[in-house]
Amino acid sequence: MIPAQFEYSRPAGVQEAVRALAEGGEDAKVLAGGQSLIPMLRMRLAVPSLVVDLGGVVEMRGVRDDGDALVIGAMTTHDQVLRDPLVHEHAPLVVQATSTVADRQVRHMGTFGGSLAHADAAGDLPSVAVALDATFDIEGPGGRRTVPAGEFFVDYLTSAVSPDEVLVSVRVPKLTGWGTHYEKFNRVAQAWALVGVAAAVRRSGQTIEDARVALTSMGPTPVRARGVEEALIGAPATAEVVNAAADRAGEGTEPSSDVSASGEYRLHLARVLTGRAVAAAGGL
């Protein structure tokens, strides 16, 4: 399968990329690592007139310590994230989820920002970004703006990044004193999550002081499981509390049915996996 013809631009900087997108108009498309876009180009599900390849934008690669947060450049590959000591130290949840993304080859090309901007409902990183309260720095013709994770994911394959904008970096707050865990259920032959659960728990002795839980593939966008969090915060750190909280994992979700799983089965998975994720994050 061969993609339809397109013009190709390889800017060296963010502003140059934004200008290229403006000149390309509505049918211009950003290429990050290409591990989602190129399959769509091949199947002609995407037929852009211009592809703006960010592969040459060096300033968008790498991880930087910014005090109480890490700033991860959008063009940092999954493989680079997995090798980065700062991410290991301050955002182990990102490391754990990233290690489950696709396979080695895809992780060598695919990027942190690309998979977030692609906003695949079955992608692993969106729910992690939501659980960690990450913020997104986006640059467009009008300058730079910052979008919180709760507003970044709009619908299936739709993020807050407009066609004339570029996701530059993602700010991931450091969670000091928290335990985290990403629990995922997928078919063996493909790494897309049937359901995934990102959990972060902060304990003080035998009490759960704070908890954050977000779900992958339980609707068109990642779902923050507020009911689960409410049941956990302030409660004793026991298996009974975790199980009762996990029973609320379906609240506010719209799981779809497809060839791999019915919506009902996804609801079941969400409850089971939430229990496991919270227990692991809370050290239970």
Partner: protein, 182 residues
């Protein structure tokens, strides 16, 4: 058209490519590197795996233009110039790690990539490391065995300092750089 230069199996090539050209098609159809095959064409099977700057990638999911300036290693460049097989190739041969052979070029390149990072993988680590490569014949058992055999062979070899293998090929067409102009 986009002007790209690639170093493929130690030889530098300069070419003009249509931006929509996939790396695997460029390798096969322009450079004649038909050892790298197209399998599923949907980023699932890994048969088209090559190394880009030493890391395994699925060449059906890389634009040739994205590879500009990079070094590509394919299955065709793996054996020594005298025909001596690479330890992974030799182990696949000895362990009968294939039946139809279609997945083999990608499987071997993915194994080389894995072993460059983990020289002594457990069986589970081999299976996980090769999760991006599908084989519909073997049931994987002999592939996993071959990769672990190759790992043992490679660990036993005395690492010799590698000389740069990059050479420049004179093209038949007039060229100012002395490199192949295509």
């Amino acid at each position: 058209m986009s002007r790209i230069n690639l170093t493929v199996d130690g030889v530098r090539y300069d070419d003009d490519v249509d931006p929509r050209t996939l790396l695997v098609h460029h390798l096969r159809e322009r450079l004649g590197k038909v050892g790298t095959v197209v399998g599923c064409d949907t980023t699932n099977c890994g048969a088209c795996t090559v190394l880009m700057d030493g890391q395994g990638v699925k060449s059906c999911t890389v634009l040739a233009a994205q590879a500009d300036g990079r070094t590509i290693d394919t299955i065709e460049g793996l054996a020594g110039e005298d025909g001596t097989l690479h330890p992974v190739q030799q182990a696949f041969h000895e362990r009968h790690a294939l039946q139809c052979g279609y997945c083999t070029p990608g499987m071997i390149m993915a194994a080389v990539d894995l072993l460059s990072e983990n020289p002594d993988p457990t069986e589970d680590e081999v299976r996980e490391g090769l999760e991006g490569n599908l084989c519909r014949c073997t049931g994987y058992q002999n592939i996993v065995g071959a990769v672990r055999d190759a790992a043992a062979t490679m660990r036993a070899e005395v690492p010799a300092p590698r000389e740069s293998t990059t050479e420049t090929v004179e093209g038949t067409a007039p060229t100012t750089t002395g490199e192949v102009a295509r």
